[in-house]
Every structure is written in structure tokens, then in C-alpha cells.
């Protein structure tokens, strides 16, 4: 009787070990735990404490491994992934982004950083930097960047397409109307008022981000330099951002860097 139970327990333990040596996933971990727990019970039953303790230790180390894995998963996810992402927000902004690139920029900042908290200030500005350095409109680049951060390539494709779709459809309709009637809508007064609103929007975004990002005289210096060089010298975006990046590389090497 005892002999057969022992044999059974050994068998269970070995099987557990076999599974344990396979690539670890949620399923295999669960299986190993079950097998070893069963073996532990059987050893206890026949009074083999030393064997039981051995398996108990194995189980503990297994739990540790499991919790590490789960922790790591959560760490990855808690940035962005675990949060429910409502891709419609890109559609919403794609629909409502009237008033030029800076309006869209403000909407994106408001929606992604302040409301949905998908990106941090730093992430958002990083996306903007990439958008400035690489080709393509900055707003669309930020949308692509966000999508990629969320779900790699598939996320990037999704966010970009969803974002561009409203404009695409509207543009086709406008093109059809244009072909037929040769008209373009009158927009001057609307744009005047929109421009005024965008001024308020974009200044508020600038002030909010500036407050968070600028921590010392070096930051303030770069800010003033960027402001002046784009205002007075009319450097293009690439130059301003590139030079500021180089300045940052040199300035922040210092002790606190």
C-alpha cells in the first residue's frame, strides 16, 4: 500500500519536473503546481516528511518565480497596456481637429495626457520631438507614436488609420463637390475665430508643459533660445529641435545630469 502511494507520488513529482523544464507560461506553472501539490499530499499521507519538505521548498521557489513573472507583466502593462484604450479617441480628434495643426496638437495633449493618461508629459513631448525631427505632420506623428507605444505595429496602424479616416472621407466628399460645382466653402471668418481660440489653447498647453519640464536655468535657457530662434531667426523646426537636443546633450552631462 505504502509502496504504491510512494511510487505514485514519485511519478507525480517527476511529471511536474518535466513540465517545469519546459518554457514557462501561465498554463505550465499551474500544471506544475497542481502536480507537486498532489505529490506533497501523498508523501504526507505515508509520513515521508523529508520528501514532503523537499517538494514544499520546490513549490515555494516556484511561487517566487511565478510572482516575479506576474510582477514583470504588470510593470510592463501598468505604463499603458493594462489600461483600457479607447481607440475612438483618435477618431474623435480626427473629426474635431478643425483649426489647424496647433489645435489638433492641443486636443491630443488634452486627451492623451490630461484626460486618458495614456502618455506622460515626457512621452508626449518625446513624440513631438520625433514628429519634429522626422518627416510628416507632427500631429499625425504623435498619433502614430502613441499607437506604437500601445500595441506596436498593429497599434500604430490602427491609431493612424482611425485618425486620418474622417479627414479622408471629408476630403473625398469635398473633392466630389468640387468636381461638380467648382466651389470651395467660404471660411475666412470661421478661421479668424478659430485662430483666436487656438491661440488660447496652444498657450495653455505650452505653459502647462513648461511648468512640468523646466526645472533649472539650463532648461529655461534652452526654452528661451528655442522661442527666440524660431520667432526671430525663423529657423526651421528641425534645426531648432536638433540644436536644442545637442545643447541638452552637452549641458546635462554635468553633476546632476
Amino acid at each position: 500500500m505504502e509502496q504504491s502511494i510512494r511510487k505514485q507520488a514519485d511519478e507525480l513529482y517527476k511529471r511536474g519536473l518535466l513540465v517545469f523544464n519546459q518554457p514557462i507560461t501561465k498554463e505550465t506553472l499551474k500544471l506544475v503546481t497542481e502536480l507537486w501539490q498532489e505529490a506533497l499530499k501523498l508523501y504526507r499521507k505515508i509520513g515521508d516528511e523529508s520528501k514532503a519538505r523537499e517538494i514544499g521548498n520546490s513549490l515555494i521557489s516556484l511561487y517566487k518565480k511565478k510572482s516575479i513573472r506576474i510582477e514583470r507583466k504588470e510593470e510592463q502593462g501598468s505604463n499603458i497596456l493594462t489600461k483600457f484604450v479607447n481607440w475612438n479617441l483618435f477618431f474623435k480628434i480626427g473629426c474635431l481637429g478643425f483649426g489647424g495643426p496647433m489645435a489638433v496638437f492641443s486636443l491630443l495633449e488634452n486627451e492623451l495626457v490630461q484626460r486618458k493618461k495614456i502618455l506622460t508629459d515626457k512621452d508626449f513631448l518625446e513624440g513631438a520631438v520625433l514628429g519634429d525631427i522626422l518627416p510628416g505632420p507632427v500631429t499625425m506623428d504623435i498619433v502614430t507614436y502613441t499607437g506604437y507605444k500601445l500595441k506596436k505595429w498593429s497599434g500604430a496602424i490602427r491609431s493612424t488609420l482611425i485618425f486620418i479616416l474622417p479627414s479622408f472621407i471629408l476630403m473625398i466628399i469635398l473633392a466630389m463637390l468640387y468636381d461638380k460645382y467648382k466651389i470651395t466653402p467660404k471660411i475666412e471668418t470661421i478661421f479668424e475665430c478659430l485662430g483666436a481660440a487656438v491661440t488660447g489653447l496652444i498657450v495653455s498647453v505650452g505653459l502647462r508643459l513648461g511648468e512640468k519640464e523646466i526645472k533649472d536655468y539650463r532648461g529655461a535657457g534652452i526654452l528661451i533660445w528655442a522661442f527666440i530662434s524660431s520667432l526671430i531667426f525663423k529657423f526651421d523646426i528641425l534645426t531648432v529641435v536638433g540644436l536644442a537636443g545637442i545643447a541638452g546633450t552637452i549641458l546635462y552631462i554635468g553633476p546632476k545630469g
Binding site: 480628434i93 480626427g94 478643425f98 483649426g99 489647424g100 495643426p101 489645435a103 489638433v104 496638437f105 492641443s106 486636443l107 513631448l125 513631438a128 520631438v129 514628429g131 522626422l134 518627416p135 510628416g136 505632420p137 507632427v138 500631429t139 499625425m140 506604437y148 505595429w153 500604430a156 486620418i164 474622417p166 479627414s167 479622408f168 476630403m171 469635398l174 473633392a175 468640387y178 466653402p185 471668418t189 475665430c193 478659430l194 485662430g195 483666436a196 481660440a197 491661440t199 488660447g200 489653447l201 498657450v203 505650452g206 508643459l209 523646466i214 534652452i222 528655442a226 524660431s230 520667432l231 526651421d236 523646426i237 531648432v240 529641435v241 537636443g245 545637442i246 541638452g248 552637452i250 545630469g257
Partner: protein, 171 residues
Amino acid sequence: MDILLKLFWVFLKIGTFSFGGGMVIIPLVENEVVMKYGWLTKREFIDAVTLGQITPGPVVISATFIGYKVYGILGAIVSTVSVILPSFVMICLATQAIKKFQENKLLANFFRGARIAVIGMILQAGLSIGKSSLIDFKTIFIAGIALISLLKYKLNPIWILLGAGIVGLVS
């Protein structure tokens, strides 16, 4: 088919060189689309750009219009995809690379400086948009309300844009 390939190639080129986005690329597009291939007349091209500014998306969406004029819906799809494609791929690759070199101090510092420059340019954009659009009491009023309601009351900017658009429509 031949013309679709040409369309694809032209807008792929434009998409690749549209650094800084927006208006910068317009002369480039005009050169290709009006001068070189004669797909659009000059008048039509100007209208395409105007329409591109009306739509909520970026101005590159003018590519959709041009594509449509050249080859209908299919042309619109080809031109839009090809103008987006280069920046799309580059952004994805860059995001991937940044993640890989996260620990690199030099790169981190580069981005720290560059991020601040973006803020500086945001403020500069605010100033220059303001300079051209704050022209009377009404517009100054709108801008003031927008700024206060955003900073102090955290209002969703969509409402501000809608409100300003409506004021513009009725006035």
C-alpha cells in the same frame, strides 16, 4: 495602372521629404503635381490646399484630393497611403529604437533638450497665431476666454473650438 504607380512614387517622395510638416512641402508638391506631371492646374492646386486646411486632419490630406482628381477613389487611397507611409515607418522604427536605448545617457539628454525646444516652439506658435488672428475685440475676447477656461477650469478644448467656430459662423 501606370498612373497609379506614378502617383504612389510621387507622394512617397513628398511624404519622405515633408520635414516639419504642414506648409513646408507645398512648393514641393506644386512642383511635382502641377509643373512636372500636369495633373492639376495651378488654380485647382490652390483650391486643393485650401480644402486641405478645412478638413480636421493635417494639410497633407490635400494628397487625397489630388489623388482623387487623378484617378478617382483608388487614386485618393493610393496617394493618401503613400504620403503617410514614410513618416509612419520612420516613427515606428524610431520609437522602437528609443525604447532599446533608453538607458543611454547621451540620448536621454538629447531628448531632454529637444523636449524643451518643443515647448519653446509651442509658445512661439501661440504668439504668431495670436499675432495674425487677434485683430479685434471679439477675437481677443475669445482667446482670453479660451486661456482662462483651460488653465483654470480645465474645460475640454473641443468645446472651445466648437464655440469659436459657431461664433465665426454667425458673425
